[in-house]
Amino acid sequence: MLKLEKRPEPSRLWTAITPVIAVLATMVFGGLLFAALGKDPFVAIRTIFYDPLFSEFAWFYRPQLLIKGAPLILIAIGLSLGFRAGIWNIGAEGQYIVGAICGAGVGLAFYPAESWFIFPAMIIAGAVGGFLWAMIPALLKTRFGTNEILVSLMLVYVAEQLLASMSLGLLKNPDGFGFPGSRNLQHYPSAHNAEIISGWGIHWGVVAAFIAVIFAYVLLARHVLGFQIKLTGESPRAAKFAGVNPTRLVVVCLGLSGALAGLAGLFEVSGPAGQISIDFNVGYGFTAIIVAFLGRLHPVGILLAGLLMALTYIGGEIAQSNLGLPSAAIQAFQGMLLFFLLAVDVLTNFKIKFRNERVA
């Protein structure tokens, strides 16, 4: 018989290697799933993990990893700060949408004027939009003690309605023959978040994601706020005695994650997506939650996890197209990754003991 015994503190070794075990287990069981669908599991796994990086067309896929991964990393970094302190912002998707609307709105307000300050103004508007949207659950929690999980999640659906309304009304392209959707910012040079070096996939959102990783690392390792965040997460009582102001911490954590999600939305709408449309949001805000946990809420871990998640998306598309795998199989595959991560997570906090060992 197996018995779980709680470790006095989480094992450092297991914290580091559980993501690797989870990825390996996903490969094995994902391979079985693909085999059950009648596909060669080795070819499928190779197509998903190897082809985007090293195949004939890797020169196209590698930059795409940055484009797909950047918003995930940017959002997940913000979320991880709150998650570490036990503040659960589940509504990054909504903050992402509102950031995109505000940023694009500022850009479109200047159309067709060209000036250097338009894009910086859009960046500020995007961050502020996401920040303010996150302030709703933050203030409700600090003032009235509401649950931030529910409020932030519900606000996603409000944001989606706002997005639809903007696509059909205020921001609708006047030259669009009545079809929904804003002007395409890719055709508006002052507002276009173009690649900084053509063909490398590095747009300003990618730069912002890297800066966020470094910023979060320094914050957690060196800054008193980082200390307060970690302390609150590990022991709220101790944090109180240490003089941490919980209200301030809630506002800061939700505000930061909202602003970063808003930035991600702005960089996406002004670059890869190009326009505000009804289906602009594709779930980055939710996927980022997986990325944050896959990366163990650690900035460097999140960077790697974001790129890994992007890899499964891009590799998954190649597998669909080249091998005829259904998209549901790819989604199940990604779900397995989170499942195994959470499952092996037990080993971080618990030791496995055999009963006979104890008896003896």
Partner: protein, 357 residues
Amino acid sequence: MNLKSLLASAAVALTTAGAAYADDPTKVGFVYVGPVGDGGWTYEHNIGRLAVEEEFGDKVETVFVENVPEGADAERVMTQMALEGADLIFTTSFGYMDPTINVAAKFPNVKFEHATGYKRADNVSTYSARFYEGRAVQGHIAGKMTKTNKVGYIASFPIPEVIRGINSAYLHASKVNPDVEFNIVWVYTWFDPTKEADAAKALIEQGADVILQHTDSTAPQAAAQEAGNVITFGQASDMAEYGPFPRVSSIIDNWSPYYIDRTRAVMDGTWESVDTWDGISTGMVGIGEITDAVPADVKAEALAMVEAMRAGEYHPFTGPINKQDGSAWLADGEVSEDGPLLGMNFYIEGVTGDIPQ
């Protein structure tokens, strides 16, 4: 010329060189917005893909990616297909319009076909179907069969195609039943069984005994079946499993002939950029079997209308028709041109409510 376009053209040169071999099959890619098992829109596009395979056998290879979000992801999927040697790519949702144009500009030798859009290029065609012809038939049956005089309409997005459908259905329902009322619910999705079911149930609770849907799942059919006294029409696909009641007829998107034609044109080298808008006459719009749940005389009238449209003798938008605000749109006997239909952003007289802004 920057690095990216240089590499892209190099890749294009490679793929076109490959296509020159006689034995090399023509590769046709399909980008789908929903799952192939949605039972509606994407399902029918996939039937078209299978028809292309059936028609050309070894001479063609088809690939598809389903559930592709509109935007940057669509652009990546199309680029990936083009890189992997696709000669012709069908992009089957309105939201793929700008991505299709972007990718097409990078691959001048690959042909693109975008469904329901309005932007074309030398290597980008657009195609769509005159679904409003089918809506006219539905409106007629709905107007005749409703007992509560309330028709529920599950609308997806307030774009011209959907508004056209509402107007066409209302026009023909009110022609045979002046007391009929349309209750329109906007769900802002093409495919979301939960939302569609909720909308259908709400409409039925409000007294609707006919449900028309411009969304792709069979959830409204199931809701009507549960209610027991409500009729529905299959959308995009026949949805025959819900016949003979509640589903009494359907609009079927039949893309197969078009897909086969366009694939052949690529093989023959005769492909040109065109704008296709076909209806019942070419078979792109099919009317699914009208079941015996419909009274025989109504069925006969509906079939006569279908025949008239097939022969080109009847156009659903034939005046006199006024706009919602009472201003004149079409004079007596005047037939609408395609322009106003393609950009339709107004309700006709009698439809209540506002188009969402």
